[in-house]
């Protein structure tokens, strides 16, 4: 018998498969980006209508917190020169995560935890405006397109009920979209400009990231795998803009009580 090293063979084949998948994934990601930049809003709403019907509308409770959040978003969107969507929805979701996400169809979900820790309305406005920046750049579609591509690939290669596919499915369900650093910075810039326009000044715009950076893990492995760029970097970028552009000094607007103590039920 000719001697073969099974381990060597195994890794060779494994890397071959992974390499081919990476190439395919990148190609699909580029295709998703290409489509995302050209997808008409009507098609987007048709494709991702299930977000509205199954997930978001049922989450949207007409209580004081929800109404305040929507009001703040409406004030921001009234400043957008060219709106992509007829209406933008802010949806408050229960959970201690300090997070928000932009979903197709002009929907922004905000976790209760984010509102609880916010110290001013300006800060919440920046988060909402940041997500509006993702809409403006269509990042939310690119992100979803890539995740769907990954999901489809995994289902083909490992089977639809495999652990890998399930893992990716849980990622999609959590709406954890990976944006690149570049996309995040662009959305930060968009948010910064919109909030400065709303309040006539940039006070409070870096607060959110400064607070987040104090809670950032110092573990280099965690930093490497995190989806968002380090909060410290983002806070520094915004602070640099504040000093560089000499934006007017204004008082921070306190957050309304309904947002300070959010009722997500």
């Amino acid at each position: 018998m000719e001697k073969t090293s099974p381990l060597r063979e195994f890794f060779l084949l494994l890397f071959g498969v992974i390499g081919a998948l990476v190439v395919l994934y990148m190609a699909l990601g580029m295709a998703a980006g290409f489509v995302a930049a050209r997808l008409p809003v009507s098609t987007e709403e048709r494709l991702f209508g299930f977000f509205d019907e199954k997930f978001l509308i049922s989450e949207k409770k007409p209580n004081a917190s929800q109404i305040e959040l929507q009001k703040l978003l409406d004030r921001l969107t009234s400043l957008i020169p060219q709106k992509r969507y007829e209406e933008y929805n802010a949806i408050l979701i229960c959970g201690d995560e300090v997070n928000a996400a932009a979903l197709p169809g002009g929907n922004i979900i905000v976790y209760e935890g984010l509102l609880k820790q916010a110290e001013s309305e300006n800060e919440i406005a920046l988060v909402l405006a940041h997500e509006l920046g993702h809409f403006s750049n269509r990042d939310h579609l690119r992100g979803l397109g890539r995740i769907l591509a990954l999901f489809a690939l995994s289902a083909i290669v490992t089977g639809s009920s495999s652990s890998v596919t399930e893992y990716l499915g849980s990622m999609t369900a959590g709406a954890e979209m990976r944006f690149s650093q570049k996309q995040e910075y662009a959305a930060d810039d968009y948010g910064f400009e919109l909030v400065s326009k709303l309040y006539g000044g940039s006070a409070g715009t870096s607060d959110f990231f400064e607070r987040a950076s104090s809670k950032d893990s110092k573990n280099p492995l965690v930093l490497f795998f995190r989806t968002h760029p380090a909060s410290k970097k983002r806070a520094d970028r915004i602070k640099k803009r504040i000093t560089d552009e000499k934006t007017p000094q204004i008082e921070k607007t306190p957050a309304p009580a309904a947002l300070k103590n959010p009722d997500c039920k």
Partner: protein
């Protein structure tokens, strides 16, 4: 979290399959080679008939069968190989071991004989259909022939 556990189980089974399977194969080959040397004086051939039946003192049927299981690592390796095509080395050693072991067991039944005539092999796979798609299979090899003692 659950899916991470599943991934962990997969990697664990893979490592366990490799270590245990590798050790078992090494041990088995050592044993096969040693026993083949011991039984060199008893040839097993494929000739069907003795030319002169008068020469035969006695003859009887001998058989030896063996079932060798696939380990998890070999299964995954073979599945990967199925994507690219080519020699499935992981299965080759498995079948080789099974065939040689079956021959040795057949020869054990033929102890005292001068020769084993008309040696044949049958191979079948076991367990792949019984336990669903992801079942770890096994290969069965049956070797049989006619043991013959010549008149002295």
């Amino acid at each position: 979290m659950e899916s991470l556990i599943n991934l962990g189980v997969f990697v664990f089974l893979l490592a366990l399959g490799y270590l245990a399977g590798h050790a078992a194969e090494k041990k088995h080959y050592a044993s096969i080679i040693a026993r083949e040397k011991e039984t060199l004086n008893l040839p097993a051939v494929t000739i069907r008939h003795v030319e002169d039946e008068e020469m035969v003192e006695s003859a009887w049927l001998v058989s030896g069968s063996v079932c060798v299981g696939l380990d998890y690592f070999k299964m995954v390796l073979a599945n990967l190989r199925k994507i690219f095509g080519g020699r499935v080395g992981a299965y080759e050693t498995l079948v080789d071991r099974a065939r040689r072991e079956a021959t040795l067991r057949m020869k054990k039944q033929a102890a005292g004989a001068d020769i084993v005539l008309n040696t044949r092999y049958e191979t079948s796979s076991i367990g792949q259909n019984a336990g669903g798609k992801n079942a770890v299979g096994a290969v069965e090899v049956l070797a049989y022939g006619t043991a013959v003692i010549y008149k002295k």
